[in-house]
Protein backbone atom coordinates (compact mmCIF):
# COMPACT_ATOMS: atom_id res chain seq x y z
CA UNK A 1 0.00 0.00 0.00
CA UNK A 2 3.04 2.27 0.49
CA UNK A 3 3.53 2.62 -3.26
CA UNK A 4 -0.16 3.44 -3.74
CA UNK A 5 -0.08 6.01 -0.92
CA UNK A 6 2.92 7.67 -2.56
CA UNK A 7 1.26 7.60 -5.98
CA UNK A 8 -2.00 9.06 -4.60
CA UNK A 9 -0.06 11.84 -2.83
CA UNK A 10 1.90 12.63 -6.02
CA UNK A 11 -1.25 12.60 -8.17
CA UNK A 12 -3.16 14.74 -5.66
CA UNK A 13 -0.40 17.38 -5.79
CA UNK A 14 -0.21 17.30 -9.60
CA UNK A 15 -1.72 19.88 -12.00
CA UNK A 16 -4.13 17.16 -13.25
CA UNK A 17 -5.95 17.09 -9.89
CA UNK A 18 -5.82 20.88 -9.71
CA UNK A 19 -7.40 21.09 -13.18
CA UNK A 20 -10.22 18.56 -12.74
CA UNK A 21 -11.20 19.97 -9.33
CA UNK A 22 -10.98 23.63 -10.41
CA UNK A 23 -14.70 23.82 -11.29
CA UNK A 24 -17.64 21.87 -9.87
CA UNK A 25 -18.96 20.86 -13.30
CA UNK A 26 -15.77 19.18 -14.55
CA UNK A 27 -16.08 15.88 -12.62
CA UNK A 28 -19.76 15.25 -13.54
CA UNK A 29 -18.91 16.16 -17.16
CA UNK A 30 -16.06 13.60 -17.19
CA UNK A 31 -18.49 11.06 -15.69
CA UNK A 32 -20.94 11.75 -18.54
CA UNK A 33 -18.19 11.06 -21.12
CA UNK A 34 -17.29 7.91 -19.11
CA UNK A 35 -20.96 6.76 -19.27
CA UNK A 36 -21.25 7.49 -23.02
CA UNK A 37 -18.11 5.40 -23.60
CA UNK A 38 -19.61 2.61 -21.43
CA UNK A 39 -22.65 2.78 -23.75
CA UNK A 40 -20.38 2.16 -26.77
CA UNK A 41 -18.87 -0.91 -25.04
CA UNK A 42 -22.31 -2.16 -23.94
CA UNK A 43 -23.94 -1.91 -27.39
CA UNK A 44 -20.84 -3.41 -29.07
CA UNK A 45 -20.59 -6.27 -26.57
CA UNK A 46 -24.37 -6.85 -26.74
CA UNK A 47 -24.46 -7.06 -30.55
CA UNK A 48 -21.34 -9.28 -30.77
CA UNK A 49 -22.39 -11.69 -28.04
CA UNK A 50 -26.10 -11.82 -28.86
CA UNK A 51 -25.12 -12.49 -32.50
CA UNK A 52 -22.92 -15.35 -31.30
CA UNK A 53 -25.92 -16.71 -29.37
CA UNK A 54 -28.15 -16.29 -32.43
CA UNK A 55 -30.35 -13.68 -30.72
CA UNK A 56 -29.45 -10.52 -32.72
CA UNK A 57 -27.97 -9.48 -36.07
CA UNK A 58 -29.07 -12.81 -37.57
CA UNK A 59 -28.74 -11.45 -41.11
CA UNK A 60 -25.01 -10.79 -40.70
CA UNK A 61 -22.14 -13.14 -40.02
CA UNK A 62 -20.41 -13.12 -36.62
CA UNK A 63 -17.21 -12.18 -38.46
CA UNK A 64 -18.84 -9.06 -39.98
CA UNK A 65 -20.30 -8.03 -36.60
CA UNK A 66 -16.92 -8.52 -34.89
CA UNK A 67 -15.10 -6.55 -37.59
CA UNK A 68 -17.59 -3.69 -37.21
CA UNK A 69 -17.60 -3.56 -33.40
CA UNK A 70 -14.20 -4.66 -32.07
CA UNK A 71 -12.48 -1.37 -33.13
CA UNK A 72 -15.35 0.62 -31.54
CA UNK A 73 -15.15 -1.43 -28.36
CA UNK A 74 -11.37 -1.11 -28.03
CA UNK A 75 -11.47 2.66 -28.75
CA UNK A 76 -14.19 3.11 -26.13
CA UNK A 77 -12.09 1.18 -23.58
CA UNK A 78 -9.26 3.64 -24.36
CA UNK A 79 -11.57 6.60 -23.62
CA UNK A 80 -12.73 4.84 -20.43
CA UNK A 81 -9.12 4.38 -19.26
CA UNK A 82 -8.39 8.08 -19.87
CA UNK A 83 -11.59 9.44 -18.26
CA UNK A 84 -11.22 6.86 -15.46
CA UNK A 85 -7.71 8.15 -14.75
CA UNK A 86 -9.05 11.74 -14.60
CA UNK A 87 -11.78 10.61 -12.17
CA UNK A 88 -9.14 8.95 -9.94
CA UNK A 89 -7.14 12.21 -10.11
CA UNK A 90 -10.22 14.12 -8.90
CA UNK A 91 -10.15 12.09 -5.65
CA UNK A 92 -6.85 10.16 -5.45
CA UNK A 93 -7.57 8.88 -1.90
CA UNK A 94 -10.81 7.20 -2.97
CA UNK A 95 -10.83 4.43 -5.61
CA UNK A 96 -7.24 3.20 -5.30
CA UNK A 97 -7.75 2.10 -1.68
CA UNK A 98 -10.93 0.11 -2.22
CA UNK A 99 -10.80 -3.61 -3.08
CA UNK A 100 -13.76 -3.26 -5.48
CA UNK A 101 -11.71 -0.93 -7.73
CA UNK A 102 -9.06 -3.64 -8.21
CA UNK A 103 -11.81 -6.24 -8.72
CA UNK A 104 -13.19 -3.96 -11.46
CA UNK A 105 -9.78 -3.74 -13.17
CA UNK A 106 -9.45 -7.55 -13.00
CA UNK A 107 -12.91 -7.97 -14.55
CA UNK A 108 -12.01 -5.52 -17.36
CA UNK A 109 -8.84 -7.50 -18.17
CA UNK A 110 -10.86 -10.75 -18.15
CA UNK A 111 -13.62 -9.23 -20.34
CA UNK A 112 -11.03 -7.94 -22.82
CA UNK A 113 -9.28 -11.34 -22.95
CA UNK A 114 -12.61 -13.10 -23.62
CA UNK A 115 -13.45 -10.51 -26.31
CA UNK A 116 -10.04 -11.05 -27.91
CA UNK A 117 -10.52 -14.84 -27.77
CA UNK A 118 -13.90 -14.38 -29.44
CA UNK A 119 -12.31 -12.42 -32.29
CA UNK A 120 -9.59 -15.06 -32.77
CA UNK A 121 -12.06 -17.94 -32.58
CA UNK A 122 -14.28 -16.31 -35.22
CA UNK A 123 -11.27 -15.86 -37.50
CA UNK A 124 -10.20 -19.49 -37.06
CA UNK A 125 -13.65 -20.91 -37.69
CA UNK A 126 -14.32 -20.78 -41.41
CA UNK A 127 -18.09 -21.22 -41.14
CA UNK A 128 -18.39 -18.02 -39.08
CA UNK A 129 -18.26 -16.02 -42.31
CA UNK A 130 -21.63 -17.55 -43.16
CA UNK A 131 -24.78 -15.70 -42.12
CA UNK A 132 -26.22 -19.01 -40.94
CA UNK A 133 -26.35 -18.99 -37.16
CA UNK A 134 -23.88 -21.65 -36.12
CA UNK A 135 -23.83 -21.77 -32.38
CA UNK A 136 -20.68 -23.66 -31.47
CA UNK A 137 -20.23 -24.47 -27.77
CA UNK A 138 -17.04 -22.35 -27.76
CA UNK A 139 -18.83 -19.23 -29.07
CA UNK A 140 -21.76 -19.76 -26.71
CA UNK A 141 -19.41 -20.04 -23.74
CA UNK A 142 -17.39 -16.98 -24.77
CA UNK A 143 -20.57 -14.94 -25.40
CA UNK A 144 -22.18 -15.74 -22.03
CA UNK A 145 -18.87 -15.18 -20.18
CA UNK A 146 -18.33 -11.86 -21.96
CA UNK A 147 -21.84 -10.53 -21.21
CA UNK A 148 -21.57 -11.53 -17.53
CA UNK A 149 -18.09 -9.99 -17.23
CA UNK A 150 -19.14 -6.62 -18.72
CA UNK A 151 -22.19 -6.45 -16.42
CA UNK A 152 -19.80 -7.29 -13.55
CA UNK A 153 -17.51 -4.42 -14.59
CA UNK A 154 -20.43 -1.95 -14.45
CA UNK A 155 -21.61 -3.33 -11.09
CA UNK A 156 -18.11 -3.10 -9.59
CA UNK A 157 -17.66 0.39 -11.06
CA UNK A 158 -20.86 1.68 -9.45
CA UNK A 159 -19.88 0.02 -6.18
CA UNK A 160 -16.65 2.06 -5.86
CA UNK A 161 -18.90 4.88 -4.61
CA UNK A 162 -20.27 2.78 -1.74
CA UNK A 163 -17.44 0.47 -0.63
CA UNK A 164 -15.31 1.18 2.44
CA UNK A 165 -11.63 2.03 2.04
CA UNK A 166 -8.88 -0.24 3.40
CA UNK A 167 -8.04 0.22 7.08
CA UNK A 168 -5.21 2.75 7.43
CA UNK A 169 -5.72 4.14 3.90
CA UNK A 170 -5.40 7.92 3.45
CA UNK A 171 -8.66 9.80 3.56
Amino acid sequence: MEFLTGFAAWLGASPITALVTSHGWIVPAIQVVHILAIAAVVIGAALINLRALGLAEQGRSLRVVLDAWLPVLYSAVGILAFTGFLLIASEPDRALFRTIFWVKLGLIVAALLVTRAHGLAARDTGDQSSVAVTRTPLHTLLAVASLLLWVGVIYAGRWIAYADGWPGAPS
Binding site: V32, I35, L36, I38, V42, I43, A46, L47, A56, R158
Partner: protein
Protein backbone atom coordinates in the same frame (compact mmCIF):
# COMPACT_ATOMS: atom_id res chain seq x y z
CA UNK B 1 -53.03 15.57 -4.31
CA UNK B 2 -50.01 17.82 -4.80
CA UNK B 3 -46.61 16.57 -6.00
CA UNK B 4 -45.33 17.01 -2.45
CA UNK B 5 -48.15 14.87 -1.00
CA UNK B 6 -47.39 12.20 -3.60
CA UNK B 7 -43.68 12.30 -2.69
CA UNK B 8 -44.57 11.97 1.00
CA UNK B 9 -46.78 8.98 0.23
CA UNK B 10 -43.93 7.27 -1.65
CA UNK B 11 -41.53 8.02 1.22
CA UNK B 12 -43.85 6.12 3.62
CA UNK B 13 -43.80 2.88 1.63
CA UNK B 14 -42.09 -0.40 2.43
CA UNK B 15 -39.81 -0.01 -0.62
CA UNK B 16 -38.60 3.42 0.55
CA UNK B 17 -37.63 1.96 3.94
CA UNK B 18 -35.90 -1.03 2.32
CA UNK B 19 -33.87 1.21 -0.03
CA UNK B 20 -32.80 3.49 2.80
CA UNK B 21 -31.98 0.74 5.33
CA UNK B 22 -30.33 -1.82 3.06
CA UNK B 23 -26.57 -1.57 2.51
CA UNK B 24 -26.69 -3.21 -0.92
CA UNK B 25 -30.12 -2.64 -2.52
CA UNK B 26 -29.76 0.97 -3.76
CA UNK B 27 -26.32 0.39 -5.30
CA UNK B 28 -27.51 -2.83 -6.96
CA UNK B 29 -30.62 -1.22 -8.51
CA UNK B 30 -28.44 1.72 -9.57
CA UNK B 31 -25.93 -0.63 -11.26
CA UNK B 32 -28.71 -2.24 -13.30
CA UNK B 33 -29.99 1.26 -14.15
CA UNK B 34 -26.53 1.99 -15.61
CA UNK B 35 -26.56 -1.29 -17.61
CA UNK B 36 -30.05 -0.42 -18.91
CA UNK B 37 -29.40 3.24 -19.75
CA UNK B 38 -26.15 2.43 -21.58
CA UNK B 39 -28.04 -0.17 -23.64
CA UNK B 40 -30.75 2.41 -24.45
CA UNK B 41 -28.28 5.19 -25.22
CA UNK B 42 -25.88 2.96 -27.17
CA UNK B 43 -28.59 1.51 -29.42
CA UNK B 44 -30.31 4.88 -30.01
CA UNK B 45 -27.02 6.69 -30.67
CA UNK B 46 -26.10 4.00 -33.22
CA UNK B 47 -29.34 4.65 -35.14
CA UNK B 48 -28.94 8.43 -34.80
CA UNK B 49 -25.37 8.33 -36.15
CA UNK B 50 -26.59 6.17 -39.05
CA UNK B 51 -29.40 8.69 -39.76
CA UNK B 52 -26.78 11.46 -39.75
CA UNK B 53 -24.81 9.39 -42.28
CA UNK B 54 -21.78 9.09 -39.99
CA UNK B 55 -21.64 5.29 -39.48
CA UNK B 56 -22.64 2.09 -41.34
CA UNK B 57 -23.53 4.18 -44.40
CA UNK B 58 -24.08 1.18 -46.67
CA UNK B 59 -26.59 -0.44 -44.32
CA UNK B 60 -30.31 0.31 -44.83
CA UNK B 61 -31.77 2.15 -41.81
CA UNK B 62 -34.69 -0.31 -41.57
CA UNK B 63 -32.29 -3.27 -41.37
CA UNK B 64 -30.37 -1.56 -38.55
CA UNK B 65 -33.62 -0.67 -36.75
CA UNK B 66 -34.83 -4.28 -36.92
CA UNK B 67 -31.59 -5.39 -35.33
CA UNK B 68 -31.25 -2.87 -32.49
CA UNK B 69 -34.84 -1.91 -31.57
CA UNK B 70 -35.42 -5.04 -29.43
CA UNK B 71 -32.30 -4.05 -27.42
CA UNK B 72 -33.57 -0.46 -27.08
CA UNK B 73 -36.96 -1.60 -25.76
CA UNK B 74 -35.47 -4.23 -23.43
CA UNK B 75 -33.06 -1.61 -22.07
CA UNK B 76 -35.81 0.99 -21.76
CA UNK B 77 -38.07 -1.40 -19.83
CA UNK B 78 -35.24 -2.21 -17.40
CA UNK B 79 -34.29 1.49 -17.10
CA UNK B 80 -37.92 2.44 -16.37
CA UNK B 81 -38.30 -0.27 -13.70
CA UNK B 82 -34.96 0.46 -12.00
CA UNK B 83 -35.39 4.25 -12.37
CA UNK B 84 -38.87 4.16 -10.79
CA UNK B 85 -37.49 2.00 -7.96
CA UNK B 86 -34.66 4.48 -7.30
CA UNK B 87 -37.19 7.33 -6.86
CA UNK B 88 -38.48 5.57 -3.71
CA UNK B 89 -35.07 6.07 -2.03
CA UNK B 90 -35.64 9.84 -1.82
CA UNK B 91 -39.02 10.86 -3.31
CA UNK B 92 -39.10 14.28 -1.67
CA UNK B 93 -35.55 15.11 -2.79
CA UNK B 94 -36.25 14.06 -6.37
CA UNK B 95 -39.56 15.95 -6.55
CA UNK B 96 -37.70 19.16 -5.68
CA UNK B 97 -34.68 18.53 -7.95
CA UNK B 98 -34.40 20.63 -11.12
CA UNK B 99 -32.35 18.04 -13.04
CA UNK B 100 -34.76 15.21 -12.15
CA UNK B 101 -37.78 17.17 -13.38
CA UNK B 102 -35.81 18.31 -16.44
CA UNK B 103 -34.84 14.69 -17.20
CA UNK B 104 -38.49 13.56 -17.14
CA UNK B 105 -39.44 16.41 -19.50
CA UNK B 106 -36.56 15.54 -21.86
CA UNK B 107 -37.62 11.86 -21.83
CA UNK B 108 -41.10 13.00 -22.88
CA UNK B 109 -39.58 15.06 -25.73
CA UNK B 110 -37.43 12.08 -26.78
CA UNK B 111 -40.60 9.94 -26.89
CA UNK B 112 -42.30 12.59 -29.02
CA UNK B 113 -39.28 12.60 -31.34
CA UNK B 114 -39.59 8.79 -31.73
CA UNK B 115 -43.29 9.20 -32.64
CA UNK B 116 -42.50 11.93 -35.19
CA UNK B 117 -39.74 9.77 -36.64
CA UNK B 118 -41.97 6.70 -36.90
CA UNK B 119 -45.11 8.34 -38.32
CA UNK B 120 -43.71 11.28 -40.30
CA UNK B 121 -39.98 10.98 -41.05
CA UNK B 122 -39.65 7.28 -41.87
CA UNK B 123 -42.39 7.17 -44.57
CA UNK B 124 -40.72 10.14 -46.26
CA UNK B 125 -37.14 8.87 -46.02
CA UNK B 126 -37.08 7.60 -49.58
CA UNK B 127 -33.66 8.87 -50.66
CA UNK B 128 -30.29 8.70 -48.87
CA UNK B 129 -29.99 12.51 -49.21
CA UNK B 130 -33.32 13.21 -47.45
CA UNK B 131 -32.91 15.93 -44.84
CA UNK B 132 -35.67 14.92 -42.40
CA UNK B 133 -33.95 11.73 -41.10
CA UNK B 134 -30.74 13.69 -40.50
CA UNK B 135 -32.58 16.36 -38.50
CA UNK B 136 -34.45 13.68 -36.55
CA UNK B 137 -31.20 11.82 -35.77
CA UNK B 138 -29.46 15.05 -34.69
CA UNK B 139 -32.33 16.07 -32.38
CA UNK B 140 -32.45 12.58 -30.87
CA UNK B 141 -28.69 12.50 -30.22
CA UNK B 142 -28.70 15.94 -28.53
CA UNK B 143 -31.75 14.97 -26.43
CA UNK B 144 -30.23 11.69 -25.23
CA UNK B 145 -26.80 13.16 -24.40
CA UNK B 146 -28.67 15.82 -22.37
CA UNK B 147 -30.82 13.15 -20.65
CA UNK B 148 -27.69 11.19 -19.62
CA UNK B 149 -26.05 14.45 -18.43
CA UNK B 150 -29.11 15.50 -16.40
CA UNK B 151 -29.24 12.00 -14.90
CA UNK B 152 -25.64 12.30 -13.74
CA UNK B 153 -26.19 15.83 -12.45
CA UNK B 154 -29.04 14.61 -10.21
CA UNK B 155 -26.43 12.72 -8.17
CA UNK B 156 -24.50 15.93 -7.54
CA UNK B 157 -27.43 18.21 -6.72
CA UNK B 158 -29.81 16.09 -4.64
Amino acid sequence: MSLQDFANTLADTWLATELTDSTWLFGTVESFHVVALTLVFGSIALVDLRLLGLVQGSRPVNDLLRSVLPLTWAGFALAAITGTTLIFANPIGYSENFFFKGKLLLLLLAGLNVAVFHFWVQPRATSPEALAPRISGGISLVLWVTIVSFGRWIGFTI
